[in-house]
Symmetry: C2
Subunit: 348 residues, 2 copies
């Protein structure tokens, strides 16, 4: 692997839309972000991948894409322990293996989150000083994008995990969203007065105040503050984060469908909708989750990005772009040093 | 107090909009729901209340409303322990006292949630068999309204608390939303496969399966299922519920403001908005949180309803209507019996 030419492996199996959707997402990325997508290894059933590539446009068929055969795939209901035992030749674990052996610089999967977290942690290991990885998701709000971390890798977050998630989330914000800004980091709780929230939150808040300087910690934040452009990185435990992420996505989708249905109910409304279509285009531009279609698994030795099982073609494409971005930034050494300084302050 | 004429006390102080807003909310309720609002005791600064009543319409001024003077008020930043010590003559604690002494059948407050939970629990006590009260909020979604419980009374929910919240939430749904339907109760988690989520959730799930028959338990639910009309009562801990409630409210508000701003950006869009205004009216009708402006504190000896500090006049009115409804239903004996049966199954 040449250092100036990045390679990313894509786990083609395991998404709800099947190999077809993932390959089309990869093609879309290659055409839409030509300068940002390096070399590709597509991992999965080689016959299926070949078929899907043959259906793609000429430009993509001409691109040299490596296919890495894997005889198994992991479905969404598979349990991590069972997958680790019985699915050694799955596309997901094969992709993780390529990253471990240094054959690629990053991997992207739309598959089972639990298996990706378990397989990634076991095979790649966490970086020095970090006990557990965390999934970070970018949420678009008017005038801002904030990072929510952890959205489900670690449902039993300890105090130290919270602090590490804050540091990792801030570095991720710089790598993926805005390298020039020192992101405002907040700890999610249920009342910003000192002393409210759970025991773990109170302890984490004290620790985060201690390491201020390492990150731009702006204190405790409540649910509503996430949407008023007052915070760039929102730290929470994986249980809360996962429920929040699904709630935000579902509520936004529900409201969209409701408006679409009501808009079509009579000719006057349809005409109104046509005249005001700029509003809906602006909404798609400003508030679509597809523009950051992937959630990186932070804290592992290697760039691992998880995209939704139900990702659209555009979401797969932007997740692939994100994977290349993270593989390129490679802030392992700066993160390791930051965690070392932080651990010296918070761990006794 | 005659048994066929219900009396409710309203804590007039402590809302963000001041006594003026609360009194206008009470007036609005009296005019809008004449058959449902019984006798009223307004608790707070008597001069201030008198001034506010004098500004109301003739119909309301003519209604006999009792004023109960309280010399203190509790602000939003007050801590419960400090309020319990220093604010004995506050409007909130005076209202709770009226309920405790049987002078009223229910109370409504827009004030500090923590103080209401602490004061309510200490003075009114929880019902037999119930260790902690829970706040229940009604969330409107297209085609349904679901009850989210607990939204912040008890951030450290135990397994038994979860089960009690499920039973109380189901009874509340019947009392406030639909008396004819056996509500579908779900336990909120991060993945509906057996074995996912936290230890407390897994245990509560097993217990809820045991007591099925007592309630219509439909199992574990994920964040997105709340918005697809697949559950009527969503049980979660007070930490998660409070963050969720604030997130749902803030996200819905943010999207509304975004659309309003974009709609006004040029004449074509403004015209489109006028033609399609039926959509926004439908949205206000179907999805406004104001139609269930109050969250009852379930599990106490007496009907206690909390309305948002930032309630609108309409929200105060519907919260008052809800308080009368709950005071009238008075399902204490059926709840006590249900909890007794449930505790026999789940507590060893």
């Amino acid at each position: 692997m040449s250092s100036d030419r990045l390679v990313v492996a894509v786990d083609v199996m395991g998404s709800d839309g099947g190999a077809s959707l993932v390959v089309r997402g990869v093609e879309y990325a290659v055409n839409k972000f030509p300068g940002e997508i390096g070399e590709l290894v597509l991992v999965g059933d080689s016959v299926e991948i070949g078929t899907q590539i043959s259906r793609c446009g000429r430009a993509f068929r001409k691109k040299s894409v490596e296919i890495c055969h894997a005889s198994q795939s992991i479905d969404m209901a598979e349990k991590p322990m069972s997958a680790l035992r019985n699915k050694k030749d799955s596309s997901m674990f094969t992709a993780i293996g390529l990253l471990k052996n240094g054959e690629v610089s990053g991997i992207l999967s739309c598959g089972n989150t639990g298996c990706l977290v378990a397989g990634g942690t076991l095979k790649l290991r966490t970086m020095p000083g970090i006990a557990r990885p965390a999934l970070a998701s970018v949420i678009p709000v008017p005038g801002n994008h904030f990072v929510l971390v952890d959205v489900g890798a670690n449902p039993s977050t300890t105090t130290a995990n919270f602090v590490h998630n804050a540091v990792m989330g801030a570095l991720y914000h710089k790598a993926a969203i805005n390298s020039k800004k020192e992101p405002r980091v907040g700890l999610l709780t249920i009342g910003t007065e000192e002393g409210k929230g759970s025991e773990a939150i109170r302890e984490a808040h004290e620790m985060l105040k201690k390491i201020d300087g390492e990150i731009n910690y702006c204190g405790l934040v409540e649910g509503f503050q996430m949407f008023s452009n007052s915070v760039d990185v929102v730290v929470c435990d994986g249980f809360v984060g996962n429920i929040l992420l699904k709630t935000i996505e579902a509520l936004a989708g529900t409201l969209k469908n409701y408006v679409r249905k009501e808009m079509g109910k009579n000719p006057l409304r349809i005409l109104g909708g046509i005249l005001a279509r700029g509003v809906f285009m602006a909404m798609k531009r400003d508030l679509s989750a597809d523009s950051y279609g992937g959630a990186p698994l932070l804290g592992l030795n290697g760039a691992v990005v998880k995209a939704h099982g139900s990702s659209s073609v555009e979401a797969v494409a932007s997740a692939l772009r994100l994977t290349f971005k993270l593989a390129k930034v490679d802030n392992k050494s700066s993160l390791t040093k930051a965690i070392e300084r932080v651990n010296a302050l918070i761990l006794r």
